[in-house]
Point group: C2
Chain length 337, copies 2
Amino acid sequence: MTNGYIELDHGSGGIASNELISSMIIGRLDNEFLRLMEDSAVMDLPGTRIAFTTDSYVVDPIFFPGGDIGSLAVHGTVNDLSMRGAIPRYLTLSLILEEGLPMDHLKRIIDSAADAAGHAEVIVVAGDTKVVPRGHADKIFINTSGIGIVPPGISVSTHDARPGDVILVNGNIGDHGMAILACREGLSFTSPIKSDSAPLNSLVSTLLKAAPNSVHCLRDPTRGGVATALNEIAINSGVTALIEEDCLPFTASVKSASEMLGLDPLYAANEGKVLVFASADEAPQILTAMKGHRLGKAAQIIGRVTARSAAPVFIKTRVGGTRILPMLTGEQLPRIC
Amino acid sequence: MTNGYIELDHGSGGIASNELISSMIIGRLDNEFLRLMEDSAVMDLPGTRIAFTTDSYVVDPIFFPGGDIGSLAVHGTVNDLSMRGAIPRYLTLSLILEEGLPMDHLKRIIDSAADAAGHAEVIVVAGDTKVVPRGHADKIFINTSGIGIVPPGISVSTHDARPGDVILVNGNIGDHGMAILACREGLSFTSPIKSDSAPLNSLVSTLLKAAPNSVHCLRDPTRGGVATALNEIAINSGVTALIEEDCLPFTASVKSASEMLGLDPLYAANEGKVLVFASADEAPQILTAMKGHRLGKAAQIIGRVTARSAAPVFIKTRVGGTRILPMLTGEQLPRIC
């Protein structure tokens, strides 16, 4: 590392790769498994039911209000595990770096991923680093994969929403997507829009404790937003979701940005939100548990589930009408996560 | 999918994404876990000791003699798990697609990944697809992560090579790296150089059965080649490896290509080779077991291990001298895997 930029050598698998990984990555993410730098990490797993997931992150810009591609990659995979009721344990971190990436950008991103992993109580046990020539990628792409342990008796699935369930969300909608877009467009607001990127495992664990048998489905509404996630759940479960526009929580800045940009925040990505489908009789307890958690202060009941009617999702508008809320069609925003 | 190319919509998380994934990916890789299209796959694991690994593949060209980026991504992760003595079980497959990628290229790659998974007896249980605008990536990058089960009593590690061990390899060296390079340079040979890309789990299982307590270390010499892998093992284990040039198996085409291109095949990547460090007294049995396997016909004993001397790796040359064989310095070849 004679200069401050990533060079092709850093992806060779030879001395320069080893130096980069030792100095920049292992040091910061250090643990007994990663330190061995083997082809795979080998761990004992307490429990025999696991969740396994993967996501690649290509967000642009790589630094944004409320986070960066490093923290986002950790949160996203922690959240995907949490959505099955699993306790996230082990992550892998795989980097595709563009030649010329400033070394201090990489350092900030790894630091941020390490902090995010620390807060979420997961460890990065294996990794990989590739470097491609300038122009063959854009700065940095990150894949995180993760393993979690599903506790005995826990079973939540997007195939398990039921008529009679209520639908809750843990807070304001659309922050991540709108933050990225405002950042790209150079928009500024009196209260700047920050990504909601956060690890949801602690919140999920809290609400599963509050009502262990009544939570049927969890989903984090990322790409495609709340509207698309609701459609996927309703289709998978063969039910209809009816949400009330009046109950949807948004910040004033997201509302302004949506109006200026002509984009519906129901289709904007969230990275620290969970949609919860649970039995109506336990809903008050779940709402209280959510509101008592740092990531659930603005939690709301936003709708309910009925037997399948004419469409998977309806929204009751502020003026009293009811219309179909379809899945996202077309690309609202590329490289949002 | 109104035309034959990947569009930004295919990465939106909305309808176009769902159509692409359902038609092109789930159908081909179908299994009970993937089919659910949840945020994570949930599986029962028989056994409590697991191996976990990740690799991103950026190989260029994406189709090459002997394979493509799809089969390579499956083989590479199967092999990383096998190198810890694990039985590979579950993979994830995460795609970063460049806008404009021909749909039939994607189809060929997914087909090839599915075939490779079938042959290696692993299943793809979760995945992710991102699309970036034209020029922000190069055609397709693939991440595969994998979980394997480490059978009771099995413990192999690059930290466990011992003085007195012999070093074996299962066949000809340098084929993958030289195949990619010959392909890029448009070189042709009387026998074309084909990548050795192959899943090593069956071979590893065979040799661990032949000598369960005598195999100390396994490593697949990918980026950086045999020379770099030997250095990593010798450094990790605090020993010296001495290999004999006369014993190294190469094809005639790899020799010619090496001479024409001025590249040492000891530094060229392999994708279907394993370096085995094992007790000398069981070496004949292991060699016999390897030669009896489809992927070990050209297996050879290539060297032995001593206590650490002046350098991690020495090579005894054909003319009788002995020289240090260093780790790869500099980038021999970007985007080799």
